[in-house]
Amino acid sequence: MSNNTIYTIAAWQHLVETAMLGSDKMQPSADLFTGHLDELYRIVNKNEATDPEEKVLQLTAAVANYRRCGTKPLQVHEISTNEAPPEHLPYCSQPAARVLRHIINEENKSLLQLWLEQCAERQCIVVPELLPLLLNAAERWKLPHALVTAVGGKRALWLAGYNSRWQLAPEATDEAQWQEGTTEQRAAALSRMRMADPETARNELVALWSKESANVRAALLSILEINLSDADLPWLEALKADKSQKVKEVVFRLLRRLSASAVVQEYQRLAPGIVAIRKEKKLLGLSSRQVLSIQLPEPHKEALYATGISKTSSYTGFANDESAIYDFITGIPPQFWETSSGMTAAAIIAVFEADKNYKKYLPAIAAAAIAFKDASWLTALAQNDAAYYPELIPHLPEAARKAYLLKGIESAPDAVIEAVTHDTEVWDQELAAKILQHTAAAPYQYNPGFYSRNIHLLPFSVKDILPQVGATNKHSQYAWESMKEHIERLLSLKQDIYQSFNQR
């Protein structure tokens, strides 16, 4: 810094201090106007007609100009720079970048995820100017970390280092999360371990079992439901003596799903006394029919309560005993009813359906079919035209599932729609058309947000049928027309995603 610059800065600071106190209390001192400013001070002060305030203003204006003219950049000899590493993958095309900007501005998470998947699939990365937008969106919508990292390239990782809200550093391993994470992170890590290697996951839980609180034990034990098998049986049987009621509830819930467990064996022993299918003669013995008798004898009650079944009702419309019976039935492999009655699954279902008092137990049989993964019973229940069980949908084989969805969209549309929103594949065209028809009648329930969230599941082919879909009542006509435009726009954006990536 030159002497002149030093003098100017000193004079400026002195003038600011003078102005702070006021010229009534302080006057600019000649001592601080040295070097090239000495003459300036003399010229201003020479004029005796000028009042002290104006002298301060004159000096300030002149020194400000000296200061501006003397401003120089700061010269540094060594400055550490942090440059982003070079990229090895190509950038996405400009059309794809335009679509990405559009989608982020639209705040559509579903399409954004689709765009990112397409980008990752084609092994290209986001152009740098869109990274802040993308990282903000990733933070706001909690987008899959691995996906954002894959399409953000090295620049995104580098950039995330300058904003603590953008967490792009590699995530801790499952092992580290299991050992050191929050209960939520540990549960997520254990779930992943359980899916990949059930035995190791169980052993990890066993190893830390005694160190956990009852609440945490109950929460983590529930995860064994994933890939539950007879290999878990010895440990679960041992846990029946756990001191915590919460833990015991989970233990029995799991044991009721293992056919080899003592609980399920005991249920099968008690079953004839609780649920009985017998032949009843009709028309003076000329014909007969199967009738159902369900009751909970007093001596059986304690045996059921000892297996974690609640004494009080857990279900609306069920009395205490009925609720216990319901839970009891969910713990019996459906195959048992065939063996004990000598009837087919379809016939047994028909007997339940025929009894207005007992058909309410069929959902318990459906729950048992799901728990014991009984494909023949799942199919039989799906073929029962008298009732619809949406909970079967994820467990049916693909062909049966499609038919069951189409059947359900008429009788239980809301449940079917809820189930298929969890799909990972694009909806079948026929199903999508039926969903459109149903939602057209309820555009306030299935509002634009519904289609924004699920646009990735809607096939392009619905674009052709959309104009023909109309609202069923005139009150929702305007809303549905506006919804159709929304759907068309979303489809068009979705199409833009594929087209922009295919243009490369």
């Binding site: 102005a19 100009n65 982003a84 501005n105």
Partner: protein, 426 residues
């Protein structure tokens, strides 16, 4: 979408970029027009002058361009084939004819008989009125200096507003604006005292400069008159020669003060190397003649206002063009300091200006962000620069050619050249 006045308009415009929303969509070589279904019984008639990018719509929106204009333009950009080619209807040709007429009037307005004596009398009266106002302003400033500026943070806004109002009454709106700026200083920030004295001294220079205007060089006198609030005659300006060039829009700033919207465009001329500032004013965001976005190249004829260091310009004839333009950049911050020094020598009340600098990179130094040139000279990045992460994203911390805006030691990047294109940081 860069033309959208705000995010909600951009979103609404995108919603309308859907053929289903338009009852008709037409285009010819100079215009787009269409009828958009709205909530009223009649559709809104939207039209766009594609030659000089201007919008008009029959909707009641006060935003400009409105969502219908944006939607129509975006739809055309995406699906030009969905537009039919038809003869212009009356409402479109009327509007375009009026625009052409207005342009012609601007470029060659017929001379009206001038009553020189009356004009001189009015000008004299105004100047006397401004002088009277300045006398009061100087007293007000001296009171501040006498009593000390430490009490400024406690002053009510009326302290500044009243004096600004007095300057408006004195027909010195430029001085009124400078007084208002004193009231707008962030008094809670450290170092406000220096900022206040800086602005007070500029106000003093303009005010006393006006009183001594006849002793000033002609060009500087024009600057002082402009800063006081005297407008230069557009008619006279348009008679002067200008510069025809391909102008790169380096940046766009929009500010609003009550109903008045001001658009500031910072331009760089490819052939001339000139930098320019073009201002547009609108009430309720209406009444703008053109709409440019940063990074756009405009083939335009600019006429510069009289000034000791010409920067502000009027636009006569402009057409957006699709072109990449070459540019000449300064090599270092030291060169900018030299240019600034030369500028203050002729124009001591100069404000921020754009510069193009070669190979600048953002760096961290002493816990702050700086802009570093090739000679390891650094200048602090403007404290409230909102696009730091975008700057980092596009540069990756590497040196790039950069357009900056500022003065003295306070600069913000407007855009950078990366991968062969100009990327705006606005």
């Amino acid at each position: 979408m860069a033309l959208a006045p705000d995010a909600s308009s951009a979103k609404a415009g995108r919603d309308l970029a859907n053929p289903a929303r338009w009852e008709s969509r037409c285009a010819d070589e100079g215009a787009l027009w269409g009828a958009c279904k709205g909530s009223g019984s009649k559709p809104y008639q939207a039209q766009i002058d594609t030659g000089n990018i201007a919008f008009k719509c029959s909707c009641p929106s006060r935003k400009f361009p409105c969502k219908h204009g944006l939607g129509l333009m975006l739809l055309y950009a995406r699906q030009p084939d969905s537009f039919t080619k038809e003869a212009r209807p009356q409402w479109v040709s009327d509007w375009l004819d009026k625009r052409t007429e207005r342009e012609e009037k601007k470029s060659g307005k017929k001379e009206k008989p001038v009553h020189t004596a009356a004009q001189a009398k009015r000008a004299d009266a105004r100047q006397r009125g401004v002088e009277d106002g300045i006398a009061e302003l100087l007293l007000w400033m001296k009171d501040i200096v006498r009593n000390g500026i430490l009490s400024m943070p406690e002053k009510k806004q009326s302290f500044f507003k009243d004096m600004a109002g007095r300057m408006v009454d004195a027909k010195a709106p430029g001085l009124a604006g400078m007084v208002k700026e004193l009231g707008g200083i962030s008094y809670y920030k450290e170092g406000w005292q220096s900022v206040f004295m800086d602005q007070l001294s500029a106000l003093y220079l303009v005010a006393t400069g006006f009183l001594n205007r006849d002793k000033l060089p002609a060009a500087l006198k024009e600057d002082i008159l402009s800063l006081t609030g005297f407008t230069q005659s557009k008619e006279k300006l348009l008679e002067k020669p200008g510069i025809t060039d391909h102008w790169l829009v380096l940046g766009k700033q929009v500010s609003e003060d009550e109903q008045l919207t001001t658009e500031r465009y910072w331009l760089y001329g490819a052939r001339s190397g000139h930098l320019a500032l073009v201002l547009q004013f609108g009430f309720y965001r209406q009444g703008f003649n053109f709409s440019w976005s940063p990074g756009m190249v405009v083939d335009a004829h600019l006429i510069f206002f009289d000034s000791a260091a010409p920067l502000r310009a009027l636009v006569r004839d402009q057409n957006p063009v699709n072109a990449h333009i070459p540019y000449t950049a300064l090599e270092s911050w030291a060169q900018i300091a030299m240019q600034e020094t030369a500028l203050y020598r002729v124009l001591p009340v100069a404000t921020e200006r754009p510069y193009i600098l070669r190979q600048i990179k953002p760096v961290r130094y002493k816990d702050c962000w700086w802009l570093c040139d090739q000679e390891q000279a650094i200048v602090p990045l403007k404290e409230d620069f909102a696009r730091l992460h975008l700057l980092l994203a596009v540069t990756g911390g590497h040196a790039t050619d950069m357009a900056v805006l500022g003065c003295e030691n306070n600069f913000e990047p407007l855009g950078v050249w990366a991968s062969g294109k100009y990327i705006s940081l606005a």
